[in-house]
Symmetry: D2
Subunit: 364 residues, 4 copies
């Protein structure tokens, strides 16, 4: 079940980086949602390779085709399968990796686990797999928007040593984020980040950073006590994105340095609604959304593929040197923004369905 | 399914803080494991309230009884139910919280979600629920130890502003950790942390901090590509522990500030085994354990219950003041150590079963 | 997960026949359902041993205690654990079965599968396990009744060679069914069945038969296309009851002898509602309830324990003879009636929650 | 999750009858299985429309393409997606069914449940969906054959009033079954069945019948106690095949008329192996395979689509008449044979993986 995500709104992604195509099947989609290939394409274009100098130069048009689950522009409630062709695979770039393990990549562990692996472009472990997530996430985002006007907005907050100063009191606009290829709403920081990434590329090196995701207009009640807490499922959703190393919600690790009297969020009344004065919680109390903005941060390591000579071993365990070929992102963050949003949207749709199932199915 | 954790080795916890008892059922336990109530009791004693001045003074002996699943000291492969009686509930301490929401607690969201909640001792949202996790975790730890000699060791690394300096090259001994009530293997830091917590208690305040968890002797192959990555399931396991706000594995958030050339872990050969020279990965590559030490960190917020007067609202949304009664931990970290270990053990057992199922069931 | 049933309204049963107690945990119960131990006890009394001469004479009061999940007589939405003590176990009756496999029992397969088994009273494979199902089923039945006035009614239709003639046009009353210990609403057939069972008991033999289950007032929409068809989940629910060998819905096997022109159920309008004129379908079309009465039949083999000398083998595979001791039902059917109803109720509650989750969670 | 089947070896089918294509994704397939499109095609050809006069004349070549999960002719352990194009859809045949519900079809319940349905060719409720099941079943069958030499063999036993006499002591050969288009190994009965189906076709009518499935060389230990009994999961697998109305295992409903002393299967030793003398159990004891032949029967109703004028209602509930158009099977049984085998194979593979996970993952 390793390739299935979600309990009621489930997605199954499939496909290898250099196979003929890649895709996703959504099971459990609500019926009667208006949906077109264009709704999905818009999001796919945000994670498309080659969209700027900051990303890999692999040329993939990433045109999605919806194979099932629609009738006259509406979802049927049946599985929605979406497919994208792989157009620009270059297997020749992976000759060396057929016998040598790339450092900090999945080649070694896949090979050990399964006794076989596809070395071309990372096979299944390639970030190209996330095409399916973004396609499914586009559907989830549309559900949330159409039903609740929920807005999910992620942006790059930090690249390497550069951290953007972003006002937490203002919910950033999509326009502000999409204005720069780096997807950071602070333009001056964006400029520095861009320079940093370009420098890394020139050096054949790579950089990491953090993405913040914020969600507004969430209803109260998303999530559940004990194991299926909303933040726990968001953490899983984020940590299963390639290259992620950390997750924190609300005050996160810095909140561990506050006292309870500083950290607690007092309840207040605002226009007849119960809110909290501060939001150290990040929108979740006891595992359940409290109606405040959901706020979390995800850490991404520097891209593992670098164009410098590296020490490694070959399949026989002999020491070897490897200089990667291929086209790669010197920094995954700009393209990871829609992936973070997609995974968050999937969690929210699933949790809302679970919430309604338990609390609204019966009227006693 | 919010109270069920795991796919093959599943646990279901049940019970409210002030109900008559609390417990857990394990389904899917391997047969023929030697197991006694004492094996479980040892771990429960580590999370028991009242074990030191640093914890709540609620007096619970937390004696576990195993109701099913054993025959002549061995597991049958059938469900193992374990129960612990609640002995020292004081409902009178929760009179006010029947009409006023405690800040940063789950009262408000539970009430909104379900239209009903048990205000006594936090009901289901109480950390007392973790009794069941630690009991089940004790079984998981025994499985891992008996089968692989896997050692799972967590300790307190930071309390409020105090961070202990701990040598990452030495795997800490249980003795060193259990030497102090705070469960920090650096004795000088432990002394400062203790003083910090006692000061917070005196002030009717609370503090948070971080716990590090390290796991050695893990086989290669735990975890899976894409969604069920080992680190993703560990993240979920940690973020569903009460009061947690963050998770990072290996280099974590600080690794986001390194370059790829600094962060990548070169493969080396050591006594015929393929290892990595450094361990920025934290023991996981592409979602799968690589045989190195698994290393992750969990952030805990300061305890939400403080004995100072706080601003809040009542059930009608009217502003109110609340001064908490009851016996509480001014810092949850020392008692959270066995909980972190337990959740980690549950994830590992489950993933090993999943791994064997996919890769060893058939011999082609 | 072998001891967990259901997707959203899940139950986990636990306990061995001769362990100290036996029980069940419900996870996912809707909140705010009025529930008392008495609601559950009423159903448990229907499956209680010793209730008549037709059943085993093991004396178990089967008093249920609800350990969690309630507050002031209402469900909290948290796990409901219910426990029943085993009071009248007689391990001495099972001395021989510690070395010899009882024919048509689970001893052999359990032993082979797990390398260990509890021979006392059948351990986990004992029908005593169904205490937990009936307790959980009582909750499910109450949900269905309180929310929809759904009535689930099962009765014994056939015992050995005696088949009762029962008018399919009249929905039988509980009174009519509970009037006789055999739970067959046709009194003359009930008398013959009783005599048949008593004769079998005298001979140290056993008999089987069929139970019919009928459900009225079901809403349209229960079930799902493809794999999770309502009839498929009912079939699984019935075939996981001990001693069952067959399931058929609507016209069942006899319908396979009709032509399409005879078998098809024409749609008609009745008081503004679309119904079908006949009900060969048994209330389910394309896997989804159509609002008609749900009608299915379950076949039970004769009880495996007989008090006659039987041929078997011992643990070493040597041929042996075995004469069972212990107290047993010469016919399981009367006590299986509430089990069939319980499993049906569990399926319906789960499917309604699934239905609402997919179709009512969002309002586009 | 209604379109996902299995726990560890899971399949997700997708696609509508008249959509552009139809397919399946397998998740959890063991790695290093030799697999080619031809292995799958062979099975698909057995369920292909137009293969004889007994089936629908819709012309579909049903050529499968494997889109992912293979590398150099071996499975990778990653998702295997297989796709088949729909080539001969004739939407014009379904004009009337856009406003009138077809009797005994899923149109009405789909429409009521989802508020929308695809009337063309039955959309998702079409038996065309089973293409995906047979493709996945081909993989499961290959796993079972390569690893254990398990043979799964289904055949038509009864059509309408004609029941073939088939020797239960001889395991039928594939050759004998595939010799006739009806797939009944008794040639004389096959001739009568063929005549019966052709007569029904001429009359614009349809007929049903039964299929027997037998499995040999199954290892002991498949299945689990309580809910996930092997027979329960087989029952679910069969009852989720379109047009099925009943399932019985071993002695089935006729066994309910035997006494315990007649029905019990004595254990014997045969060449050092423990077997049973008779097989009323059908190969399963206590929910777990006992090493004997697994034997079960499935009942299929007569095809719902008949070419006679029928009474029905339209979408407004007004009474109407409908005469079906389109190309249909007057009897689904010959093409259902590979579907039954496929579903059985899927259950067995899944259960073996579950068995190994619980019993072989750890060595204490």
């Amino acid at each position: 079940m390793a390739n299935i995500f979600g309990k009621l709104f489930t997605i199954t992604t499939w496909g290898e980086s250099h196979g003929g195509s890649i895709g996703v099947t959504i099971d459990g989609c609500p019926p009667q949602l208006s949906l077109s290939a264009q709704d999905v394409q818009t999001e796919l274009n945000r994670r498309q390779p080659g969209q700027s100098n900051l990303t890999t130069q692999r040329q993939e048009s990433d045109q999605v085709e919806i194979l099932s689950g629609l009738y006259k522009g509406q979802t049927l409630g049946t599985p929605i399968t979406m497919i994208v062709k792989n157009e620009d695979a270059r297997s020749q770039d992976y000759r060396e990796t057929k016998t040598k393990y790339r450092p900090s990549h999945a080649d070694f562990t896949y090979h050990q686990k399964y006794g076989i692996y596809n070395p071309e472009g990372g096979g299944r472990s390639s970030a190209r797999e996330t095409v399916g997530r973004v396609a499914a996430g586009a559907v989830a985002k549309k559900i949330l928007k159409d039903a609740f006007a929920i807005e999910i907005c992620a942006y790059v907050e930090q690249v390497h040593q550069i951290t953007a100063d972003i006002d937490e009191d203002i919910f950033p606009s999509t326009t502000a984020i999409e204005r720069t290829p780096i997807r950071c709403p602070n333009e001056s920081a964006a400029t520095q980040m861009t320079a940093c990434i370009e420098k890394a590329r020139t050096q054949g090196d790579s950089v990491g950073g953090t993405i913040v995701c914020r969600i507004k207009n969430t209803p109260i009640g998303l999530g559940a006590p004990v194991f299926d807490r909303l933040e726990a499922d968001l953490a899983k959703a984020m940590l299963c994105i390639p290259a992620t190393k950390g997750f924190e919600i609300g005050s996160g690790f810095s909140g561990t340095r506050l006292k309870g009297s500083e950290h607690n969020d007092p309840f207040i009344q605002e226009e007849g609604q119960i809110k909290t004065e501060t939001n150290h919680a990040g929108g979740v109390l006891g595992g359940i959304s409290n109606g405040n903005e959901i706020y979390f941060r995800v850490g991404f390591k520097p891209t593992s593929t670098i164009l410098q000579k590296q020490k490694t071993v070959d399949h026989e365990g002999q020491e070897a040197e490897l200089t990667a070929q291929g086209r790669h992102d010197p920094c995954v963050l700009p393209r990871a923004v829609p992936i973070v949003e997609s995974m968050a949207a999937l969690v929210l749709v699933d949790h809302w369905m679970l919430h309604i199932a338990q609390t609204q199915a019966f009227n006693f």
